[in-house]
Every structure is written in C-alpha cells, then in structure tokens.
Symmetry: C2
C-alpha cells in the first residue's frame, strides 16, 4: 500500500471503526477486520495508534470537540431561549442521524468494558447536554417567557430522552428510521411543557 502520513491514516482508521460498528456491530471490530476494511496490514495500524483502546478514545475526543463544542456555541448564543433550544435539539438530531456509528460505539463500548475512562467520557457528554438545556430553560424563565414553576432538572432529563430514544430507533431500524421534522415535532412538545 502507498505510504501516507500518520494524520491521514489516523482519520482513515477512526472512520473505518465507525463504519464497521454500524454495519457489522461492535463484536466484529477487531484490529484484523479494521485493517482489512482499510486495505492495510494489521501491523500498520499500530504504527498510528498504540492500542485499539487509543483509537476509541481518539474518536470520543472528536465527539467532544465537534459535537459538544457546537452545542455549547448554540446554547451560549445571543438568540432567544426558544430559538436556542430548537437549534440545540435539531443540531443533536442531525448529528446523531449523520453519525450513527458513534452512539453505538459510545454506549456499547462503555457498557461492554465497564471501562472507567470511557464511562466518564460518556457521562461528560451526557451531562454537558443536560446542563446546556437547563441553562437555556433558566434563561427562558428569567426572561419571563416560560413558566417559573416548571421543574427544570426534570425537563432536562425528559429532553435527554429525545436523542437517546432516537438513537435506539436508529439502531433497531437498521438506519431506516426516517425522522422527518422529528426535531420540530419534539420541539412543539417541549414548548407545551415550558409555556405558562
């Protein structure tokens, strides 16, 4: 195989990991399989990552930077709480449907290994989203638009159920679940909960 820089190979490897997980399941994510899918030797993989575990951690790092990073931007923008909440929800739905392998990776790997680092990462990703939602809701209450008596924590928890159950639908329906206007529909429900 033609020589490539570590940077390029690392991206290829990470991408192949997600591909394999989505098409064949986590159990078939062996370094042998991974090498075959890319078309390189198994040994070459270990030139670019020191271990299989390190590949997973690199992917999670990407998620934190790309996905959680963009959610933070949305939550902290200058728009109205309602607009921010909708953007947050729709961005989440889009990310999940566009990156189906990632969530399968996160959940399966975290629960498969009972790995402390992985679990902590997943917890951070989960909790950050919840905090961003809580913050937006509190802003909406402070601005007088939303009901001040609503239990913010509980609504944030209920909110988190949206991406999570979407995930399950995606996994179970072999990616065929088509979420037309899914985020708009869910947003209508959220507003009914939040309004006075």
């Amino acid at each position: 195989m033609i020589r490539q820089s570590t940077e390029i190979r690392q991206e290829q490897i990470k991408s192949a990991v997600l591909d394999i997980i989505f098409t064949d399941g986590l159990k078939n994510l062996s370094t042998r399989n991974l090498a075959k899918r890319i078309g390189m030797s198994e040994g070459a993989i270990f030139r670019h990552f020191t271990s299989k575990q390190e590949i997973i951690l690199a992917i999670i790092k990407d998620v934190k930077r790309e996905f959680i990073g963009s959610l933070r931007m949305i939550a902290n923008s200058k728009k109205t709480p309602e607009s921010r909440l909708k953007s947050l929800l729709c961005a989440t739905v889009k990310y999940l449907t566009d990156n189906k392998g990632i969530t399968m990776l996160l959940f399966s790997e975290a629960t498969s290994n009972n790995d402390t680092i992985l679990k902590a990462s997943l917890q951070e990703i989960f909790n950050t989203q919840k905090k961003l939602v809580s913050k937006i809701i509190l802003d909406g209450i402070a601005s007088g638009q939303w009901d001040e008596n609503i239990p913010v924590e509980n609504i944030a928890m209920l909110y988190m159920g949206i991406p999570v159950s979407l995930n399950i639908e995606l996994v179970l329906s072999y990616g065929e679940f088509h979420a037309d206007n899914f985020c708009s529909k869910m947003m209508i429900l959220m507003l009914k909960l939040l309004n006075k």
Copy 2:
C-alpha cells in the same frame, strides 16, 4: 459440585449472566467467567444450554413474559387512563432499577453482534411499550379528559425517552443514581403534555 436439576441450573446461569454484565460489563461475559461465578465447570453450562446465545435468548424470553406481560395487564385494566399511565410508568421504572443488568444486556448485545433475532426481540419490546402508551393516551382522549389535538405518536416517543434515559443514568452512575419519586415527577410532566 452437588447435582441440581436443569431447571434450577438454568435459572442460576441466567441470573449469573445479568450479574456479570452489570458488575464487569458484557465483554467479561465469557462462559469461563460464567462458570467461575456459579462455581461449576465450564462444560456443565453446556449441559443446560446448547450455546451461549441460547442463554441470552432465554433471558429475553423472560423479559417478554414477566415485564411486557405485566405492562399489558396494566394498560388493559379497568382503571382511568391517568391511573393506568402512572402505573405503567412506575412499573417500568421499578423494573429497570431492579434489573439493571437486563437493559445493558439487551442494548449491548443487540448492537454488539448486529444479531437479527436479538434486534427483532428488542424492537418488539420497545414497540410494545410505545403501543401500550399510545392506547392509554387514546383512551384518555376518548373519555374527554385529555386534549384531542395532541400528537399521540410523538408523545409516546417522548415517553419512551424516560425509561431509556433512566437506563443510561443507571449505567453511567454505576447504579448509584437514586430515582426518588422519579416516576411521579415524570408523570407530572406527562400530564402537562396531555391535559387540555
């Protein structure tokens, strides 16, 4: 080891599977590990189940009978829709917190293997719950108590997010998540969605 009937051994084995998954993760669910936890030889396991896969399927069968069965009873009872919905929700929360290993098993195993039979079983479990919720909501609308303009399907989807995100909390918090009145709190939110 003292001799026991297949019936007793099968229960022991299934129970040990859930125990291992919850404490050590799915990856450590080997037949070797399983035998060690029960205190029997590895070969003996294969006296009572023909394969490891068959153990998983037996557990899923249990879930369908015990858990889904009881939810059906609740949904079809003579009580008011509100009372039935609350019972359904609380029974689900209780089952999940009491059987933490089961949901980890279902999701991890289904996504790990990309196994058709497992996925179909999980899908059935998921969809049955959604249908029961939809049915109760429709009853509540028919009785005039709940808003006839609510999007039943979407609310059922949002409802499913409750047990699912509870699951994630349980997995990530190493079982320490304490859900005091969790179902009551969520029920309050559901009612705000359903009421006129």
